[in-house]
C-alpha cells in the first residue's frame, strides 16, 4: 500500500464513523480498530525497506513554483512512530468499545479519534516542513475536540480550551520558525533541510528560528513552563488520554525535536533551552506526581516528567543520548498507555479515581492489578522491565557528560532525584490502590472488566516484559532502524543488555529505588490524611494561574482597545471611512501637486450649463430636504439622475443614457413603494433640549468633510478633463469589436464578449440581491401606523359617490381608482414588450442590449401592478420571477460553458453568418444567447424586487379592516 493510501485511510474511516448510528458502539469500534490494524500491518510490512537507513518517498505536485508539494516520506524514525500511532490506535479502539457507555454519542468519538490518528500519522510521515506544521495544527484541533468530548462538563471545556490555546500558540511559533528555517535552507523539503545542518547552525538567523521552533515543540510536549495544560486535559475520556497523552499527541513535540536533531542540535543554545526545559520538567513533573490524589492526575504528571526525561536526553547533544531518547519514547508509550487503560478500568469498575478512597483492590480485581503493577514497575525503572533499560541509558548519559564542572556534578543528582520521585509515585499508584484494607464506600463494587477490555493492557504489559528481558533480540533491530535517521546516519556504540556490571548507573538506580521506598513510607500517612491538597513549594510556580491571568488581561485589553478605537455607531464609522478615503486621495495630491492640462476645451453650450445649474440646485435641495420631505427629495434626486442621463447622451454614450434612464425609472418606483413604510417625521420636533449644540457641531463637521470631498472630486475631475487621456487598451476593443465580436456597438460587445465574465458576475450579484430582498421582506411586517388606507380614501365622507370609493374592500387598490390611466397602461403593455424586444435585438449593433431591454420589460409589468393592484395583476397573469432568474443564469453560464466544451476559453464568442429565405443575411453571434441570459436575469430580479415590495401593501391592509388582528399581528 502506498503511503498516501495509508494516510487517507484514517480520514476516510473518520467520515464513515461520523455517519454510523448513534448507538453503534460495536461497529464503530470495529471500524476504527480495523482501520488502525490494517494500517499497522501495512506499516510493519514496510520494515524491510527502511531497515538499514532506507527512505520511502512519495511526492505529489501541488504548488511546485512555491516549493509546496505534498511529500510523504518514511524513514526508520517515522516508521517507528507510525507503528506506535497505528498499533496503539488499534488497542485503544478495542479498549474504547468497552469504556464508552451506551449513552455516549460514539460516532463523534470515533470520528474524531480516527481523524486524530490520520493527523498524527500525517505529521510523522510528512516530508515537507509546511506540511508538518499543517498536520501539527490538525492534531491540536482534534485533540481539542477529543478532550472536550464530554462538552457538558465545564472541566472538559476548560481543559480542551487550555490545551488548544497553549499548543495552538506554540504551533504558530513553530510555523514562524519553520518559515525561517525554509528561508535559510532555500527549501521546505525535509530531505534538503536534513542535509543542511552546518548551514543552519552557522546562519545568522539560527538564534531566532531555534527558539521559535522550540516554543512549538516544548509546548506540545508539555514541557516546563507550558506543562500545566496536560493535567487539565485529563478531563478527556480515558481512551483519549491513553492515546493522546501517552503515545501520540504529547510525543509530537519530542518527535519534532528528534526529527530536527541532526540539523538543530549541537549548539550551546540547544543545550541550554532543550536540556534546561527537560531537566526542569523532569524534576517538577515527578515531584508533583507524588502529591496527586487522582489516578489520571498522577499519570499526567508522570507523563510530563518522562517527556522531560526524553527532552533532556535530546538536549544533551550526544548521539548516544539521542538513541536513549528514541528508546524511551517507545518504552514510555507502552507502559504509560497500559497504565492509563488500567486507571480507566479502575475508574470504570469502582466509580472513582481518588487514590485516597481506593484501597485493597487486589482482592477484587487481581488480574488487572497485576498488570497495572507490572506497568508501574516499568514506569519506576525496576530491572527486567523496558523502563529500566532506557533509564539506565539515561543515568549513564548524565554520568558521562562532558561539560562544565557543576553540570557534571548536578546532572546525576537531578537524575537520581527524579528516579527517586518516580519510584515513590509508582508505589503510590500500586500499594495505595491495590493493597491495604478493602474499602467499602466505593460507588460500585469492582469486578474484573470484560475479557477484551483487558486484552490491550495485557498486550502492552507483555511488550514491556519482553523488551525488558530480551532487549537485543526483540527491540534491538527496530531501535537501530529508528535511531539511525535521528543521529544523522551513524549509530554510536551501545549495547542493549540487562547487566552491564557494577557501574555508576546501577548504583544510581539502587539509590533511587531505596530512596523512593523511603520517601513513599514517609509521605504515605501524610497524604492519606490529606495534608497536601496541592504539591508543596512548586504550587507557587503555577502556570495555570499565569495562563488565566494572562487570558483575562488579554480580554480586558482587547475590550479596551475595541472601546477606544471603534464604535458601533454607523455615522461615526462612515465619517471615518470617508475621511480616510479623502486623506488617501489628498496625500498623492500634496506630494505631486495638481495642475491643469492643455487639452482643447469642448465648445460650451448654454442649454447644457442651464440644465446642470438646475440639477445642481436639485442636488443641494435634496441634501437639504431629505429628512422631512422625502417625496420632494426623491424628485430632486431623480432630476440629478435625469441630468446625468442627458450628460451621457451629450458626450457620445447612448448606451449609458438608455440604461441610466431605465434604471432611474425602476429605482424611483422602488423607492416610491418603500416610502410608505417609513415612519412619519415632523419638522421642528427636537428630540432633546441639551443635544442641540452637539448636533450643530456634528453637522458643521460633516458639512466641512462633505465640502472637502466634493471640492476634491471637482478639482480632480477638472484636472483629468483638461488633459488627454492616453488609453492603449481601448483601441484594441475598437478595432476588434466588429471582426472578432461580431457587433458594431463596441460597448455592448465589450459587455457580452470581451468582458463577459465580468457581466456574468454582475448578473449573479443582481440575482443575489433579488433573493436577499425577497428573503428579507418575507419576514417583514409593516409597522402599525403605516397600515391605514391612503389619506384620499380614508378621509372621504361616507355618502360621497366618487371613483375613490372602494366598494369591494379590495386589499390594495380602490376598485375603479384611476380608471383612465389603468386602461392606457394596459394598452401600453404589448407596446412596451415590443420596444423591449426591439432594444434587445438591436443591442449588438446599435444602442440597446439585454440590460436595457430587461429593465424596460420589467417596468412594463410593474406599471400594471401600480395601476391595477397586486391582486388583480396576479389573478390575470402568472409571472414567476424566480424561474426567470434561474433560467437566465443557466442560459448565460451554459453559453460560456459551451465554448469550453469546444475547447475555447470560457465565454468565447462564435459568430455565424446565416442566409435565411425571408429575413436575408443575418449575423448570428453566440453572445446573443449570453445576452438572452442577461435579459432574463434582469427581468426576473427586477420583478422579484419590485413585487416583493408591492406585496407588502397586501399584507399591510389586512389588519386595517380587522382592528383586533392588528395587535396580535404586530405582537
Amino acid at each position: 500500500m502506498s503511503l498516501i493510501v495509508l494516510l487517507l485511510l484514517p480520514f476516510i474511516g473518520s467520515c464513515l464513523a461520523a455517519v454510523l448510528p448513534h448507538n453503534a458502539r460495536n461497529s464503530e469500534s470495529l471500524l476504527a480498530g480495523l482501520v488502525a490494524l490494517v494500517g499497522t500491518v501495512q506499516v510493519a510490512l514496510l520494515y524491510p525497506q527502511i531497515a538499514h537507513g532506507g527512505v520511502i518517498r512519495e511526492e505529489f505536485l501541488w504548488l511546485p513554483s512555491l516549493g509546496l508539494n505534498l511529500v510523504l516520506r518514511m524513514d526508520g524514525f517515522a516508521w517507528l512512530f507510525s507503528l506506535l500511532v497505528l498499533g496503539i490506535g488499534t488497542l485503544v479502539s478495542l479498549y474504547a468499545r468497552y469504556y464508552m457507555s451506551p449513552q455516549d454519542p460514539v460516532p463523534r468519538f470515533f470520528a474524531f479519534f480516527l481523524a486524530f490518528m490520520g493527523a498524527m500519522l500525517g505529521l510523522v510521515i510528512s516530508g515537507n516542513l509546511i506540511q508538518i506544521v499543517f498536520f501539527w495544527e490538525l492534531t491540536s484541533v482534534f485533540s481539542f475536540l477529543l478532550i472536550g468530548y464530554w462538552h457538558h462538563r465545564a472541566d472538559a471545556r476548560r481543559g480542551a480550551y487550555m490545551a488548544l490555546m497553549v499548543t495552538g500558540a506554540g504551533g504558530l511559533c513553530l510555523l514562524a520558525g519553520v518559515l525561517l528555517l525554509g528561508h535559510v535552507v532555500g527549501s521546505y523539503d525535509l530531505d534538503k533541510v536534513l542535509a543542511a545542518g552546518e548551514l543552519i547552525r552557522n546562519h545568522a538567523l539560527y538564534p531566532v528560528l531555534l527558539p521559535l521552533i522550540l516554543l512549538g515543540a516544548l509546548s506540545k510536549s508539555a514541557q516546563f513552563p507550558f506543562h500545566f495544560w496536560l493535567p487539565h486535559a485529563m478531563a478527556a475520556p480515558t481512551p483519549v488520554s491513553a492515546y493522546l497523552h501517552s503515545a501520540t499527541m504529547v510525543k509530537a513535540g519530542v518527535f519534532l525535536l528528534a526529527r530536527l536533531w541532526p540539523v538543530l542540535s549541537g549548539s550551546e543554545e540547544w543545550f541550554w533551552i532543550v536540556g534546561g526545559a527537560g531537566a526542569c520538567t523532569l524534576l517538577l513533573g515527578a515531584f508533583a506526581a507524588m502529591f496527586q490524589n487522582d489516578l489520571k492526575g498522577l499519570l499526567a504528571y508522570s507523563t510530563i516528567s518522562h517527556l522531560g526525561l526524553i527532552t533532556l536526553l535530546l538536549g544533551l547533544n550526544s548521539p548516544l543520548a539521542a538513541v536513549a531518547a528514541v528508546f524511551h519514547i517507545l518504552n514510555h508509550a507502552t507502559f504509560k498507555a497500559s497504565l492509563f487503560m488500567a486507571a480507566g478500568i479502575i475508574d470504570h469498575e469502582s466509580g472513582t479515581r481518588d487514590i485516597r478512597r481506593l484501597s485493597g483492590l487486589f482482592r477484587l480485581i487481581p488480574f488487572t492489578a497485576t498488570l497495572a503493577m507490572v506497568a508501574s514497575a516499568s514506569m519506576a525503572g525496576v530491572p527486567l522491565m523496558n523502563g529500566f533499560l532506557s533509564k539506565e541509558m539515561f543515568f549513564a548519559e548524565t554520568v558521562f557528560i562532558n561539560s562544565s564542572a557543576w553540570i557534571e556534578a548536578a546532572l546525576p543528582v537531578i537524575a537520581t532525584l527524579a528516579g527517586t520521585f518516580s519510584v515513590a509515585y509508582a508505589l503510590r499508584f500500586t500499594v495505595d490502590v491495590f493493597f491495604g484494607p478493602p474499602t467499602t464506600d466505593l460507588p460500585h463494587t469492582p469486578h474484573e472488566p470484560p475479557r477484551w477490555m483487558r486484552a490491550p493492557v495485557e498486550l502492552l504489559v507483555l511488550t514491556c516484559l519482553v523488551v525488558g528481558v530480551f532487549p537485543a533480540q526483540s527491540v534491538g533491530p527496530l531501535l537501530a532502524a529508528a535511531a539511525l535517521p535521528v543521529v544523522g546516519g551513524t549509530l554510536p556504540e551501545y549495547s542493549l543488555a540487562i547487566w552491564h556490571g557494577w557501574n555508576a548507573p546501577l548504583i544510581m538506580s539502587l539509590i533511587a529505588m531505596s530512596g523512593g521506598i523511603l520517601l513513599y513510607l514517609l509521605l504515605r500517612n501524610q497524604l492519606k490524611l490529606g495534608r497536601f491538597p496541592y504539591p508543596p513549594v512548586i504550587e507557587r510556580f503555577n502556570g495555570k494561574r499565569l495562563f488565566e491571568y494572562g487570558q483575562v488581561h488579554l480580554m480586558r485589553m482587547a475590550r479596551r482597545f475595541e472601546r477606544t478605537m471603534t464604535t458601533r455607531r454607523l455615522q461615526k464609522q462612515l465619517f471615518m471611512l470617508v475621511l480616510v478615503a479623502f486623506l488617501a486621495g489628498l496625500l498623492p495630491m500634496l506630494q505631486s501637486g495638481l495642475s491643469w492640462g492643455d487639452r482643447p476645451k469642448i465648445p460650451g453650450s448654454g442649454v447644457f450649463v442651464t440644465l446642470w445649474l438646475i440639477a445642481i440646485a436639485c442636488a443641494l435641495g435634496a441634501a437639504w430636504q431629505a429628512k422631512y420631505h422625502r417625496l420632494a427629495a426623491l424628485t430632486m434626486v431623480s432630476v440629478c439622475g435625469l441630468m446625468t442621463c442627458i450628460t451621457f447622451v451629450w458626450f457620445s454614450a447612448p448606451d449609458l443614457a438608455l440604461t441610466q434612464l431605465a434604471v432611474e425609472v425602476v429605482t424611483t418606483v422602488l423607492i416610491l413603494l418603500g416610502l410608505r413604510w417609513l415612519p412619519r417625521r415632523i419638522e421642528g420636533v427636537s428630540p432633546l433640549p441639551g443635544s442641540q449644540e452637539q448636533a450643530h457641531l456634528r453637522r458643521l463637521r460633516d458639512l466641512i468633510l462633505a465640502v472637502l470631498v466634493g471640492g476634491g472630486m471637482a478639482l480632480l475631475s477638472y484636472a483629468m478633463l483638461t488633459r488627454p487621456t492616453p488609453n492603449d487598451i481601448s483601441s484594441f476593443y475598437l478595432s476588434r469589436a466588429l471582426p472578432e465580436g461580431g457587433g458594431s456597438n463596441v460597448v455592448n460587445v465589450m459587455l457580452v464578449d470581451f468582458r463577459g465574465f465580468d457581466t456574468l458576475g454582475e448578473v449573479t450579484v443582481l440575482v443575489a440581491v433579488a433573493l436577499a430582498v425577497f428573503a428579507l421582506l418575507r419576514r417583514f411586517r409593516p409597522p402599525r401606523e403605516s397600515m391605514q388606507l391612503p389619506a384620499q380614501q380614508r378621509l372621504l365622507a361616507p355618502d360621497v359617490v366618487t371613483d375613490l370609493v372602494n366598494p369591494r374592500q379590495a386589499a390594495d387598490t380602490a376598485l375603479g381608482f384611476m380608471m383612465v390611466p389603468a386602461v392606457l397602461v394596459r394598452l401600453l403593455l404589448p407596446i412596451a414588450l415590443v420596444v423591449s424586444m426591439y432594444l434587445f435585438m438591436r443591442g449588438h449593433n446599435q444602442p440597446g442590449g439585454g440590460f436595457v431591454a430587461g429593465l424596460v420589460m420589467s417596468v412594463a409589468f410593474i406599471l400594471q401592478y401600480m395601476v391595477a393592484g397586486t391582486q388583480w395583476v396576479e389573478a390575470q397573469m402568472s409571472l414567476r420571477p424566480l424561474r426567470w432568474m434561474g433560467t437566465g443564469l443557466l442560459c448565460a453560464t451554459l453559453t460560456g460553458g459551451g465554448a469550453m466544451l469546444l475547447g475555447y476559453p470560457f465565454l468565447t464568442t462564435h459568430t455565424a453568418h446565416l442566409h435565411l429565405p425571408l429575413l436575408g443575411d443575418i449575423h448570428f453571434a453566440s453572445a446573443l444567447f449570453f445576452d438572452v441570459g442577461i435579459f432574463t436575469v434582469v427581468v426576473g430580479s427586477t420583478l422579484l424586487i419590485l413585487t416583493a415590495l408591492a406585496h407588502q401593501s397586501v399584507r399591510g391592509h389586512r389588519p386595517a379592516s380587522q382592528p383586533k388582528a392588528t395587535q396580535t399581528g404586530a405582537a
Binding site: R569, L570, Q571, K601, I602, P603, G604, F608, I616, A619, A622, A623, A626, K627, T644, F651, A653, D655, L656, V663, T667, G674, W677, L678, P679, L705, G710, M713, A714, L715, L716, S717, Y718, M720, L721, T722, P724, T725, N727, S730, S731, L734, A737, L738, S744, N745, V746, V747, M750, L751, D758, T759, E762, V765, L766, L777, R779, F780, S941, Q952
Partner: protein, 114 residues
C-alpha cells in the same frame, strides 16, 4: 464645459457625502444615489469627453480613438449603474426591515436619546 462637469461631479459628491453622514436611513439611501451619480460621471469623464463620437462602428471610418470616444469607461460605468441599482434596492429593503424590527429609522437601530 469642463468646469460645469467638474462642478457637477463635486456638488453631487458633496451632497452625497453629506447625506450618507446623516442619521436617518432614507437620507443615507438618497446620499448613496447622489454619490453614485457623481462617481459614475467621474469614471465616465476619465475617458475624455467628446461630442458626436459614439463608439458604434461606422463603415469607412478608421477604428481608433480619434474617431470614436473611449468605450472602456462606458462599459465600466454600465456595470456600475446596474450594481448601484442593486445596492440601492438592497439598502432600501434593509432599511425597511430594520425599521420593522427596531421601530426606528435611525441608522443605529435606536434613537440617539434612548
Amino acid at each position: 464645459m469642463e468646469e460645469v462637469i467638474a462642478t457637477a461631479i463635486g456638488v453631487l459628491a458633496a451632497s452625497g457625502v453629506w447625506l450618507i453622514l446623516r442619521p436617518r436611513t432614507f437620507q443615507v439611501v438618497m446620499g448613496l444615489c447622489l454619490l453614485s451619480y457623481g462617481v459614475n460621471l467621474f469614471i465616465f469623464s476619465m475617458g475624455s469627453l467628446f461630442i458626436g463620437k459614439e463608439p458604434i462602428i461606422k463603415d469607412g471610418v478608421p477604428q481608433d480613438l480619434l474617431n470614436y470616444t473611449d468605450p472602456l469607461p462606458q462599459a465600466l460605468v454600465l456595470t456600475a449603474i446596474v450594481i448601484s441599482f442593486a445596492m440601492t434596492a438592497l439598502f432600501l429593503v434593509v432599511l425597511l426591515a430594520s425599521r420593522g424590527l427596531t421601530g426606528t429609522d435611525h441608522v443605529d437601530g435606536r434613537e440617539p436619546n434612548e
